[in-house]
Symmetry: C2
Subunit: 283 residues, 2 copies
């Protein structure tokens, strides 16, 4: 009996050992899962940006040259009443889906618009954008095929029913005729990182915000030029379109614009914009 009791207590001790092993396993597994790349001290954070590895060197060099600063020379403006005049210009912009296929704006107009977009500010002046201008019919056809294929899945499977419902007043579906009708498509890629001449990766801080701001300037430029456009962000089409346009892996599609003159019978949704009091708060 005494021996049996001993074995009994020894059993409990052995189960305690199992428990201990289990606990050690638990915490070590938890540790490794929480830190998949074993980077327990992620010291350098950047909101909303992917963290890229930058090679450490003994002496860090800035991406830009260090030069003395220059006196600021103010540019031109639209005075008098520049703000009001500019508001009247952009308030006439609407997203349209019916373009005139026969009226092709001169490429130099598109180029000036992209020059304007390229004046956008960017994190540490990295200018992390590429504007792909597509005029070629076959390329436009391929883009349309990629987008329609993905959009069919988006509308039927990937998008929440509420989302599809919210789009109903805009009368959109997965058929994107404008992609082959519009004389130009502009695909705006954000560069998630850059490459130095010596092949080292350069960080592109806030590349998505910077490139979107450039997109906003582009829209104003197109409006100033008398051109209409449609801003789209085709869900899940980025990789296929990047491959089609042979863009490098550091570039990711952000915005796809259709650009041209509106068709004669072009219609737009009956939308109102929010009043100033709904979008501005004064302190």
């Amino acid at each position: 009996m005494e021996v049996e009791t001993l074995i009994g207590s020894s059993k409990i001790l052995k189960y305690w050992a199992s428990l201990l092993i289990g606990l050690v396993l638990f915490f070590s597994i938890k540790y490794f899962i929480k830190n998949p790349k074993r980077k327990p001290q992620k010291k350098y954070t950047l909101d909303n940006e992917e963290d890229i590895e930058v090679e450490e060197t003994d002496e860090l060099q800035p991406a830009l040259e260090e030069k003395p600063h220059l006196p600021f020379v103010a540019g031109i403006n639209l005075n008098p009443n520049g703000a009001e005049r500019f508001y009247r210009l952009v308030q006439g912009r609407r997203s349209i889906r019916s373009f005139r296929s026969q009226s092709i704006p001169d490429l130099s107009i598109i180029e000036d618009c992209i020059r304007a977009a390229g004046t956008a500010p960017s994190g540490a002046h990295t200018e992390p954008w590429t504007f792909c201008v597509v005029e070629n019919s076959e390329v436009k056809q391929s883009i349309r095929e990629i987008v329609e294929q993905e959009e069919l899945m988006n509308y039927s499977q990937r998008m929440h029913p509420q989302w599809v419902t919210d789009l109903r007043p805009l009368q959109t579906n997965h058929i994107k005729e404008y992609l082959t009708v519009a004389p130009y498509l502009i695909l705006i890629f954000k560069q998630t990182y850059g490459l130095s001449p010596d092949g080292r990766r350069k960080r592109h801080y806030y590349n998505e915000i910077s490139t979107s701001i450039a997109g906003g300037i582009l829209l104003c430029a197109l409006q100033a030029a008398g051109l209409a456009s449609l801003v789209t962000t085709p869900l899940n089409c980025g990789p296929a379109l990047r491959t089609l346009l042979q863009r490098p892996v550091n570039e990711k599609l952000l915005i796809l614009l259709a650009v041209g003159y509106p068709a004669e019978d072009c219609k737009v949704p009956d939308l109102q914009r929010k009043e100033l009091s709904k979008i501005m708060v004064k302190y």
Copy 2:
């Protein structure tokens, strides 16, 4: 001896049991850590957006009213040579850090600029933005204190040394004098979701891209008005600034702009912009 052997083999068996317990623990822990909210089938995806819960109802209603579409009426433009003229307007824009504190632009100018920004396109016309315009000195002082406190930590601890080095040619540090000197600060918040009159959450598709595009239009408007600005994205300051300005929890700070007229002795970094051939590709 035979009894001892039996106990020995029983020990091994018991260790096998521990191993089994450990393995079971491993996979169940891994499962729960990988699926913290136990949502294994995330069906509706939206690139780069936080997934918000939308209440399911029997009949889904669109956020916008369903109305017949209207004929498109083209707005004004800057013709002749609209694109070129617009490029000349925005190419004079530079980010400046020295503002004239005594020259305060009329609030109506700022209002027109924000009206212009509010014409930006947005996913399903959700208009997911709020522009907080700060003229009050005490509020500006509080903003500066929050930003400088965070920026000191950003520069010394959070930012990668390469990032700090990349900013050296811009001669920036954690001291942000312009935040109290500039006559206006504009804090642009993105609304990550909206609220219906009945309190239900409305999805705000692509709110970050939409709000950044609005920011780009705002920059053009300010330039058209003859005003200078500085775009910043203060790292980690969002929650404190949101609390200071008493903005609701669905709003997140995206951009902080300082706005005003440049100081007499204002200097800017000696920067060049990329040539068109470096940012545009033709297909």
